[in-house]
């Protein structure tokens, strides 16, 4: 057999084997969360490189080596899953670098990190000033995670004491002009509904590059033709504006009438609408 042909065949077959092994070990292998996956990843790579180039090596040897290096991390994962003590030995544990806003020099030394490296890891998390950090921990996989001081964290709705609002994930129902039936079923909408929405937007499904249904059952579409502007869903902001107008109308009626009973009725209506506005605003504003 020609030399180049053998190398090609070896490479392709080992690529396939590597693909299968990585699939079996799963996403953990790619994430390299634990020590074992890290070394197994490097070693399997080297074995495959050696086996595809060195023709004097038997394929059987390479297969056995890959098998062992593939099974060990799987075994280690399994044991780690079953026992807490084994887990701390196999996967290691995280090390606290900053506690109560103070750097723990001992732990830094134990993990052989310099202060420059700590600062660089913090900068990767967009933290430039050590004084902003309340707590920071070095994870098993070598990433640093930091908890900012309360004052330095991004502002949230609960900080402003606004009523809590939840939104569900959007569903992508149209891709490349094709309907994704599974996704549409998951979103709980029907094909008829989608057709109606598309018709209201004045487009056919073939012209839609991406179509997503959001938490409020609104369809957002992006068209193939960038010259065309797809209408953005406006129903909710429009409803909010209408409610405000209706509340104002009620107040005008209340002022215009002389009858005490009718006045009361209009005022009550205005108050009710105001209450609706207050409750629904978080859901109605975009």
């Amino acid at each position: 057999m020609a030399q180049w042909l053998e190398v090609a065949i070896r490479s392709i077959s080992f690529l396939t084997i590597l693909f299968i092994i990585t699939k079996i070990i799963g996403k953990r292998q790619i994430a390299q969360l634990s020590f074992f996956e890290y070394i197994a990843g490097i070693t399997i790579g080297s074995i495959v490189a050696e086996a595809s180039l060195a023709r004097e090596r038997s394929i059987m040897d390479a297969l056995i080596a890959i098998g062992v290096w593939g099974i060990i991390p799987m075994l280690a994962d399994y044991i780690a899953m079953k026992s807490k003590t084994a887990r701390s030995v196999i996967e290691g544990h995280s090390t606290v670098f900053i506690k109560d806003g103070k750097v723990l020099e001992e732990n830094l030394k134990k993990e052989k990190y310099t202060i420059d490296e700590l600062l660089s890891l913090l900068r990767k998390k967009d933290i430039f000033s050590l004084s902003d950090v309340e707590y920071a921990v070095l994870e098993q996989d070598g990433n640093l995670n930091a908890l900012l001081k309360k004052d330095k964290r991004p502002l949230t709705r609960s900080d402003l004491q606004m009523p809590s609002v939840n939104e569900k994930e959007p569903y992508t129902v149209i891709m490349d002009g094709h309907l994704l039936v599974d996704s549409l079923a998951k979103s709980g909408k029907t094909k008829e509904w989608l057709d109606q929405e598309l018709e209201a937007a004045g487009v056919t499904i073939e012209n839609v590059f991406i179509g997503q249904i959001n938490s409020y059952g609104e369809l957002y579409i992006d068209l193939f033709d960038d010259q065309l502007q797809a209408p953005a869903p406006q129903e909710r902001p429009l409803l909010l504006a209408n409610l405000k107008k209706l509340a104002a109308d009620m107040e005008i009626f209340a002022l215009a009438t002389d009858c005490e009973k009718t006045k009361k009725m209009y005022e009550r209506n205005a108050a009710d609408i105001q209450r609706i506005i207050q409750q629904a605003t978080p859901y109605l504003s975009n």
Binding site: S164, K189, S215, Y216, N242, L246, D249, N269
Partner: protein
């Protein structure tokens, strides 16, 4: 615009808002949002009922505005 017709216009607006609330309550996927929309719809229904009563009164008081 007469009082009767402006009250009727306003009631029509209320009905439209009720319909939108009802649609949002059906289409939203978050239970809390569904609940808020549903409650709003119910309140709107009560308001519409009161407005209808008022329209009935106006039409009885001033029969010439009936139907506008």
């Amino acid at each position: 615009m007469t009082v009767a017709s402006s009250v009727k216009t306003c009631t029509a607006g209320l009905k439209q808002a009720e319909a939108v609330f009802s649609k949002l309550a059906l289409l939203s996927s978050d239970p809390k949002a569904q609940q808020v929309f549903h409650e709003s719809m119910r309140t709107m229904q009560e308001i519409i009922e009161r407005m209808n009563k008022r329209i009935f009164e106006i039409e009885n008081e001033e029969p010439q505005y009936r139907g506008f």
